[in-house]
């Protein structure tokens, strides 16, 4: 609370102690928070913005959000850890998300996950050593009619079979 008001007094963008992430991104986040009509009820919105800027929500970003939203770090952490969309660890440059919704599961999504794990040598939730890929499971993107579905970044792949996994990886 204290540091949040300090910032409003000086009118400056105050970075968290030992901040390691780019100040320009913090600046942009500060501006985003400043233009909100109210702070009440906008914590999830701000975290969405923060994640889109930084790619993930490490402690220093959570501290920054807590300061500027005038809430405790515990509250921010509570919200971040509750929602699966938010991540506290960085994802790969090309995040691979495999749908494990019912329709995709029935159509054999598990075998696709296995194929990716084998091809990349990492588990679900991990990033490859070179930081290029990460594997995650997601719930359902609503393209169930074309199951199994996976996404790499924004790109959606439909009717995926384990045989295609090597080619998909080779695209990046």
């Amino acid at each position: 609370m204290q540091s949040g008001s300090t910032c409003q007094l000086t009118g400056e963008c105050r970075l968290p102690d030992r901040a390691t992430l780019p100040a320009t991104l913090y600046k942009e986040l500060e501006e985003f928070i400043a233009q909100l009509p109210t702070k009440e009820g906008h914590l999830v919105t701000v975290l969405h913005k923060a994640q889109s800027l930084f790619g993930y929500l490490p402690k220093e970003v959570q501290q920054f959000v807590a300061d500027y939203m005038g809430v405790s770090l515990a509250k921010v952490y509570g919200v971040v850890s509750f929602y699966t969309f938010f991540t506290m660890v960085p994802k790969g440059k090309y995040p691979i998300s495999i749908c494990m919704g019912t329709a995709c599961f029935v159509k054999g999504a598990e075998k696709v996950v296995e194929a990716f794990k084998e091809a990349l040598g990492v588990e679900v939730g991990e990033v490859t050593q070179d930081g290029k890929f990460s594997i995650d499971c997601l719930r359902c993107v609503g393209a169930c009619a074309l199951a199994p579905i996976l996404t790499v970044g924004e790109k959606v792949y439909a009717h995926v079979t384990p045989d295609q996994v090597k080619n998909i990886i080779a695209e990046y």
Binding site: E40, G41, H42, L43, V44, T45, L47, H48, G78, V79, F82, Y83, T84, F85, F86, C99, M100, G101, T102, A103, C104, F105, V106, K107, E114, L138, R139, C140, V141, G142, A143, C144, A145, L146, A147, I149, V156, Y157, A158
Partner: protein, 617 residues
């Protein structure tokens, strides 16, 4: 009021003129895009430009035949228009050569035709009589795949915003009575009568009231709401406005899951356009009624579909359910009276107000009126979206609309209602579908996702899948759900790993009953349903896992063993190369064998054998 009436006739004329032009329309819903629709669009624009053709290129959302994506529709003035399926960029040239330049439909690529009063082409099924659509009604989905969802003109020209126009001239209670008369029940799963809910919020005392639209659609395998939001966003806005007018609210919030970026984009656009035309904002249609809508993106938590958790999430909190009562109708968003309905519920409202409650009530069964949108997925031929009158049987959906099970396999079960629902067997295929019949069969209407499974699906594995889901999504607030689902899951894992014991089945049943009766919210209360229905209808599969240590469907790896049939193996060596752990050995041209000590049961060898010599049992 005069404003819209004046523009309506001009807009209608422009729309008609548009239909009287040669046009190519590409389906760009999420499914169309996933299938490569954007590339098809680019290829079409390219062809049209490079050949200098006089033809309009437009886009629409999903018409429902997701199995035929990417879909392209071509229409020439005065002729039936034809929807083509499976149009990848390499087919675009052929289509344009044939239908646009040659003016003859390319029959071999055609899926259906929409006559619109014109003479039908020979050899192409007419939409209303085609297998996929013959048993469907198109009411709330009527604009899907037919209009441009990003054009408010298309919406208005097809009767859009006539509902709110009519409503603002009515008495508030008359609107609510009309909704009551329609008999519509909440399409979000619970099936609560919408008119009664509106009455409660209308009667609730408060200086401020809210309308909230539940667009969280968390059931995996369900995409009705996404299709409506992407294909007819204005209908949802109009439904919310009518509700706002009827109950006395001036603000609405749409809570949309973050996994639906296209829906959020189209909703934002629709709000902008409606505001520009004076259909939303201050003093709507000059009546003094003001209403504004904003969108709130979710952040990935299934429980946020539950209404009170959703309200907490809108307020920026962890999305944990509240104890009810008080119900949202009395203390909802920011503790104010709140009317919360599902996307499909709201999208039905403009039709009900325009055509009257009786029109709507004429469809459906005694206690479940109207039509319902279902998503057909799983091991069927025609996966997609369909709208059917309540009371249709599951068998009609499976055989007539979905085109039966794929690859001639046998139907085993259909899962209805998502993680809260249940699996119904062959005996229940003649069950007329409505809210009550599904509940008595142990399943649930849920939001409308139907996942069909064939004989290669293991029902214990399916129950495990759902419990894994609910266990991960349990918010942890109440013990029965947090701990109970975990114990259920552990037992199911044990069974599928071959360590099940005779007490497991009665234990599962007892624990399931305890969770059902003591969990705080419906997530926990319904979480045991997948276990209970599979136990009820597929008990023999559980028994086979426990007593015989066998998985009849051949899914649970721990219970499988692979072997090579001596009389079929010709010793070609293909399986030997496919095995990742060198468990297969054998000389060339001699029968091969699998070493069970080395085999990791991955099954990689089975599809590789051309002689069907490898069996799993």
């Amino acid at each position: 009021m005069t404003n819209l009436q004046k523009s309506r006739s001009t807009i209608e004329e422009q729309y008609k003129a548009k239909q009287n032009r040669p046009r190519i329309v590409v389906g760009l819903g999420t499914c169309g895009i996933a299938a490569g629709g954007n590339k098809v669009m680019a290829a079409i624009k390219n062809e049209v430009a490079s050949r200098g053709l006089d033809v309009d290129v437009d886009f629409t959302s999903c018409i429902g035949m997701c199995f035929a994506e990417p879909a392209v529709e071509i229409g020439l003035p005065g002729q039936a228009s034809v929807v083509y399926g499976g149009i990848y960029p390499d087919k675009v040239g052929q289509l344009i050569d044939g239908h646009v330049v040659g003016k003859k439909p390319v029959t071999e690529l055609a899926a259906i035709q929409i006559t619109g009063g014109a003479e039908p082409f020979e050899g192409i099924p007419v939409m209303e009589q085609s297998g996929y659509y013959a048993k469907q009604v198109r009411s709330v989905t009527s604009r899907l795949g037919r209009t441009n969802p990003e054009s408010i003109e298309d919406y208005i020209a097809t009767g859009g915003y006539a509902g709110i126009e009519k409503a603002v001239a009515m008495e508030r209670l008359d609107i609510i009575n009309e909704v009551k008369k329609s008999g519509i029940r909440g399409r979000g799963g619970g099936g609560f009568p919408t008119g009664n809910k509106w009455q409660f919020v209308h009667d609730a005392v408060g200086d401020k009231k809210y309308i909230v639209c539940n667009a969280d659609e968390g059931d995996p395998g369900a995409f009705m709401d996404r299709s409506v939001l992407e294909g007819d966003p204005h209908a949802v806005l109009e439904g919310m406005m009518i509700a706002g007018f009827a109950i006395g609210a001036d603000e609405g919030v749409i809570y949309c899951r973050a996994e639906y970026p296209l829906a959020i984009k189209r909703l934002n656009l629709a709000i902008e356009e409606a505001e520009k035309m004076g259909l939303m904002g201050e003093n709507i249609l000059g009546t003094g009624f003001s209403f504004k809508i904003r969108i709130k993106a979710g952040a990935g938590a299934f429980v946020c579909g539950e209404e009170t958790a959703l309200l907490n999430s809108i307020e920026g909190q962890r999305g944990m359910p509240r104890v009810r009562p008080p119900f949202p109708a009395h203390k909802g968003l920011w503790q104010k009276p709140t009317c919360l309905n599902n996307v499909e519920t709201f999208a039905n409202i403009p039709f009900i107000i325009r055509n009257g409650g009786e029109w709507y009530a004429a469809m459906g069964t005694e206690k479940s009126k109207g039509s319902k949108v279902f998503c057909l997925t799983g091991k069927i031929n025609n996966t997609g979206l369909c709208e059917v009158p309540m009371g249709i049987t599951m068998g009609e959906i499976l055989n007539d609309i979905a085109g039966g099970i794929k690859e001639g396999k046998k139907f085993k079960a259909v899962q209805s209602g998502g993680p809260s629902g249940g699996c119904l067997p062959t005996e229940k295929l003649d069950l007329p579908i409505d809210y009550d019949s599904l509940i008595s069969a142990g399943a649930m209407m849920g939001s409308g996702g139907l996942v069909f499974m064939d004989e290669t699906t293991c029902m214990v594995d399916v129950a495990k899948f759902f419990l894994n889901f609910t266990q991960l999504e349990s918010c942890g607030k109440c013990t029965p759900c947090r701990e109970g689902t975990k114990r259920l899951l552990e037992t199911l894992i044990r069974i599928t790993e071959g360590a099940g014991t005779a007490e497991d089945i009665p234990n599962l049943e007892r624990l399931a009953k305890v969770i059902k009766s003591s969990a705080l919210c419906a997530l926990g209360q319904t979480a045991p349903n997948p276990v209970l229905t599979t136990l009820r209808y597929f008990r023999n599969e559980y028994e086979a896992h426990i007593n015989d240590k066998k998985c009849p469907a051949g899914v649970c790896a721990a219970l499988l063993s692979f072997s090579i049939l001596k009389d079929k193996c010709i010793g070609c060596g293909v399986c030997l190369k496919a095995c990742p752990v060198d468990a297969i050995s054998g000389e060339k041209k001699a029968v091969h064998v699998i070493d069970p000590a080395k085999c990791v049961k991955c099954g990689a060898c089975v599809p590789k054998c051309k002689f069907e010599a490898i069996v799993k049992a």
